[in-house]
């Protein structure tokens, strides 16, 4: 670290700072088209088809946005049974999302066959593994429990499966994931993991991520964060030769869907930013183990990883910065914030140079696509951060977001981290363990003093906090949490969007309605969409989808032709 962080910043001229502050401020929404339907009336109409009790419940999840007085929305509460939700389960969040992408951990799913099968390479998270090193991504291991184990217990089979995996592959670590029946029959995955750890001399750790825990995959993210923090982070040291560059970051909540992490690695390398570990796209076990030696945590998908950022700050003194690398302008802004944080003149220059070059290459594509799609409305119903992040990408090409919402978010993802202390913990969340974390007497190292943090905040670099989706959305736009199929159909009929971003479960419903749907869980067959080159990919993809001539064929000519006369 720079011994006197203010020196470099002081050298920046006032004019430069003014520009930087403006550039680092909140992003502006593309204004809604003039003919956008009235939100308040639509909000009422959305819940009409439900029984009254369900209607009242759902109404709390539906808000008409006002960025100046951010409304309170209900989120992260139990899904109404039978509503056809987009949501997945705790196991999906833990194994499928957070742990699954790590290439050299052997993941063993303790349970009947389906859970492992369905999380087998379906998220399109990519990895390029150094020559000669292990890559277990193409594998999914399961204890494949049968009736016998449900009745008599499956711990013995699990231990045998762990031993077998060790003998076959000699991995650095083995992670065990519990599915629904495991918790119900009382198998203790942690005890089995501890026994195996002792016996095999490698790191073996378990996750109690039974599908019924919590209200969505969000519970699984939290459980995954806890397990990684307890068992992996800080267990290895970064080698000295990798500590030469003080500009060292972790990228939290980036899962390398469609190669996003590859593009960010490229951009970081150009800027001279050393990436210690990504959590967890294109990551290896040792990257995660050494991550406590980074000097800044960058948080992409805060929904799935903010627990980790908070715990690492408390234990190791690493501040965290919310970033968004989705969208060219957003990427530029995030890079500038990183540069300001490290307060390094060379880095600041290099970042500006990279931004200038990358934007120059991107601009012709952006301008051309904007000329064809600008002003056309978009809806986003996906994830716990993407429905927000992608608004920046659509802003690049002038497409207004008329309606958006998350699948498994909490209130702070909508309203901003400022509301976190006011979120009430209900029965469903109470069962997810909150780790008690304290500063590590040996490993804690304060990277920035409170004064420096305050100073940075004044300069547009707000550490340890984030805005929610609502701050960026236009006044009057519709926000719906945990949207149901029926609600989505109604919104599409009313808003007639040019494109809807959602997931595979809605995709073909939306396309049957004659509207293109871009999957933002696994990107269909596309990507990367992050960073600068990713933005180019996304612009052209949206242009292609919105303007494809196939939509003109949906209605046959005789269906609209006037009836013959006479």
């Amino acid at each position: 670290m720079n011994p006197d962080p203010m020196t470099e910043l002081d050298q920046i001229s006032a004019a430069q700072l003014a520009v930087a502050n403006r550039e680092l401020g909140p992003e502006l929404a593309v204004p809604l088209p003039r003919d956008t339907p009235d939100g308040a009336a639509l909000a009422t109409a959305l819940v009409e088809s439900y029984p009254p009790k369900v209607g009242r419940k759902r109404s709390k999840h539906i808000r008409v946005n006002d960025p100046s007085t951010i409304p309170t929305i209900e989120a992260n509460s139990r899904t109404v049974p039978g509503i056809i939700t987009q949501r997945g389960c705790c196991y999906a969040g833990c194994k499928g999302v957070v742990l699954g992408p790590v290439t050299d951990i052997v993941h063993i799913v303790h349970g009947p066959v389906g859970c492992s099968y369905y999380s087998w390479m379906t998220r399109r998270n990519q990895a390029i593994v150094p020559e000669g090193e292990a890559n277990y991504l193409p594998y999914t291991f399961t204890t494949d429990m049968t009736e016998n184990e449900i009745i008599f217990g499956g711990e013995k089979k699990l231990l045998a499966a762990i031993r077998e995996a060790y003998e076959l592959l000699h991995p650095k670590a083995i992670a065990v994931f519990a599915t629904c029946p495991v918790g119900l029959i009382g198998d203790d995955v942690h005890a089995v993991a501890a026994q195996a750890r002792e016996e095999l001399g490698i790191n073996v750790f378990g996750f109690s991520c039974e599908g019924y825990k919590g209200v969505s995959q969000s519970a699984g993210h939290h459980i995954a964060n806890n397990g990684l923090f307890k068992h992996v982070v800080g267990t290895e040291q970064l080698p000295d030769e990798l500590k030469v560059n003080p500009i060292r970051v972790n990228l939290l909540g980036e899962y390398n869907i469609g190669g996003d992490a590859f593009e960010l690695e490229r951009v970081f390398a150009r800027c001279g930013i050393e990436l210690v570990s990504t959590f967890s796209g294109n990551a290896q076990y040792s990257d995660l183990a050494r991550s406590a030696d980074a000097n800044l945590n960058l948080v992409m998908c805060h929904r799935s990883i903010n627990y980790m950022a908070e715990m690492m700050e408390t234990k190791y003194g690493i501040p965290w910065l919310k970033v968004n690398f989705i969208g060219a302008e957003a990427t530029a802004k995030s890079l500038r914030k990183i540069a300001r944080y490290f307060d390094d003149a060379v880095l600041i220059d290099r970042v500006e140079q990279v931004i200038a070059e990358e934007l120059a290459a991107l601009e012709p594509v952006r301008a051309e696509v904007l000329s064809r799609v600008g002003g056309k409305p978009v809806m986003l119903y996906v994830g716990g951060s993407r429905a927000h992040h992608y608004q920046s990408l659509f802003a690049d090409i002038g497409m207004p977001v008329v309606a958006a919402g998350y699948e498994f978010a909490h209130r702070d993802d909508y309203e901003g981290s400022v509301v976190m202390p006011t979120i009430t913990v209900d029965a469903d969340s109470k069962n997810i363990e909150e780790l008690t974390v304290a500063a590590d007497p040996d490993a804690y190292e304060q990277r920035k003093s409170p004064d420096e943090i305050a100073e940075l905040a004044e300069r547009g670099v707000r550490l340890g906090e984030y805005d929610g989706m609502m701050a960026q959305m236009a006044k009057g736009a519709m926000v719906v949490d945990d949207i149901s199929h029926a609600e989505l159909e109604r919104l599409i009929a009313e808003y007639q969007p040019a494109v809807v971003c959602s997931g595979i479960k809605d995709k073909y419903v939306i396309e049957k309605m004659g509207v293109p749907c871009k999957q933002l869980h696994n990107y269909d067959s596309g990507g990367p969409y992050a960073g600068f080159k990713g933005a180019i990919n996304f612009y052209t993809e949206i242009d292609r989808m919105v303007n494809a001539q196939v939509w003109r064929l949906v209605t046959p000519p005789w269906a609209t032709a006037p009836a013959p006369v006479g």
Binding site: T85, P112, Y118, T143, D144, E147, C180, L184, Y508
Partner: protein, 473 residues
């Protein structure tokens, strides 16, 4: 048979491991959901964690590239202690209100089976306490016909069987629950198993061609392979009409195609025979000349007459065999997937001179090897059959056998890529190509299409490997 093949196909049975590595089967609730989707106006409903419905939807939707709604009771942790009946009741009420289905098919999951939910009892209580709606339009809990949705229950814990078991169990449960005994009908009930929408359409055409009145149970062909519609319909049209499914117990015969299931799983055809005295015929999936001829004989035995066009299709297929045999002789293949499909394909491949040197399925019927030899005696001693297998075993066999071809679903792609063996995609899941719903496997026509694909895959490989670059093969 070619003597040269004997050495190549002598592969040891792979060592059984504790873990299942890259499984070769899916779970019972998936199969049940798919079967239930084949009944008219039906919404499949999984009683358990919502993740089951979500994962299964993602899997099936990616295969068919069609909407596939599966409701869930979204069981939470507290319900694992206090029981999930209230979530089940609420869920059914909400589906009934919003979808107005004719039937809700409730399949259980590992969770609800492990805690021992009395789903049948719960559904009976819902049925019992539901008043007749006075005004169907005002009370949302009715179908467009004004009747309360039929509620059907099937027990499908993933630890007890495969997706095929779940599929067959759901068909049997539905046929049994809806059954309305009465005057016998002239219908032939065709129970096609887990085949593609294109297969179902073709089967309908074939049985129609014999002049036989018939019913496909279930029938996903319209609901999971639909055209674009003027207006999106939340309940896709099509599927086996419930009234006709109710009359299946009065049919003159039932024909099960496939039907290899784990011990303990009942087939709808067996249920119709045991409980209602319907004559039950059981055939392998009609792939190739031999197995399709067997279907033709059965349909003739039921009083039908083979249509001329079918005869012509058979002739063209044999002619294609003649044209293609030089590309196929002495080639070997490794097959994986569902037992029924693997059996049909293996018997057919043997017929065209390709040795199905290894057949790996996730199935647990324990009957595949015997069925193979019964239907294709020439395969005796020349094929390695692995039941309850996984892709670790497929890989081991592919390495040992160096086959010319893999025949199976998309899950074989990584292996195909790593070991450089071409893959012909059949069955489910197909997530890396378009047209899964349109892939025909059955009848002379389906075989013709498979034949061309298999032969061309081998020709293409030979052409690509040629140093000369022949444009005439």
């Amino acid at each position: 048979m070619a003597l040269a093949d004997t050495a190549r196909v002598a592969a040891p049975t792979p060592v059984r491991s504790v873990s299942t590595t890259n499984a070769c089967r899916m779970c019972m609730p998936l199969g049940a959901s798919l079967a239930l989707a084949g009944f008219e106006g039906t919404v499949p409903f999984l009683h358990g964690s919502q993740g089951c419905a979500t994962y299964i939807r993602r899997y099936l939707i990616s295969h068919f590239r069609e909407p596939m709604d599966i409701a869930s009771s979204s069981i939470a942790e507290s319900s694992t202690v206090f029981g999930g009946e209230s979530a089940l009741v609420d869920g059914i009420a909400n589906v009934a209100r919003v979808y107005r289905p004719a039937m809700i098919g409730v399949a259980t999951t590992c969770l609800t089976e492990t805690i021992g939910e009395d789903v049948g009892g719960a559904l009976a209580r819902i049925d019992g306490c539901r008043p007749e709606p006075a005004d169907p339009a005002a009370d949302g809990s009715v179908s467009p016909t004004g009747a309360a949705p039929a509620l059907v229950h099937v027990s499908t814990p993933a630890y007890a069987g495969t997706h095929v078991d779940g599929y067959q169990a759901a068909v049997a449960a539905t046929v049994g629950a809806l059954a309305e005994p009465g005057a016998p009908t002239e219908q032939v009930v065709v129970l096609p198993g887990l085949v593609s929408p294109a297969d179902l359409r073709h089967l309908r055409e074939v049985v129609d061609g014999f002049g036989l009145s018939h019913l496909l149970v279930p029938d996903i062909s319209d609901r999971l392979d639909a055209g674009v519609a003027e207006e999106y319909q939340r309940l896709p049209p099509g599927g086996t009409p419930l009234a006709e499914a109710a009359a299946a117990c009065r049919a003159r015969a039932a024909v099960t195609l496939g039907g290899l299931v784990s011990p303990g799983t009942a087939l709808a055809g067996e249920l119709l025979e045991d409980r209602f005295g319907v004559a039950h015929h059981r055939l392998a999936l009609p792939i190739g000349i031999r197995l399709t001829d067997a279907l033709v004989e059965t349909l003739e035995g039921l009083g039908g007459t083979a249509p001329h066009w079918l005869d012509a299709e058979r002739g063209r297929l044999v002619d294609a065999y003649v044209d293609g045999h030089k590309y196929l002789a002495e080639r070997t293949a490794v097959l994986f997937g569902d037992e029924d499909l693997v059996l049909g394909l293996a018997v057919w491949l043997a017929e065209i001179g390709v040795t199905p040197a290894a057949c790996v399925t996730g199935g647990r019927s324990g009957r595949l090897a015997a069925e193979l030899v019964r239907l294709a005696p020439e395969l005796d001693g020349r094929v390695t059959v692995v039941d309850d297998g996984d892709f670790a075993e497929v890989e081991e066999l592919v390495r040992a056998l160096s086959p010319d071809l893999l025949v199976g679903h998309s899950r074989g792609y990584p292996l195909s890529r790593a070991l450089d063996v071409p893959l012909v995609r059949v069955g489910l899941p197909i997530h890396d190509r378009v047209g899964a719903a349109r892939t025909r496997h059955l009848g002379y026509r389906g075989t013709q299409e498979l034949f061309d694909r298999v032969t061309n895959a081998l020709i293409e490989r030979r052409q690509d490997e040629s140093a000369v670059g022949y444009a005439y093969m």
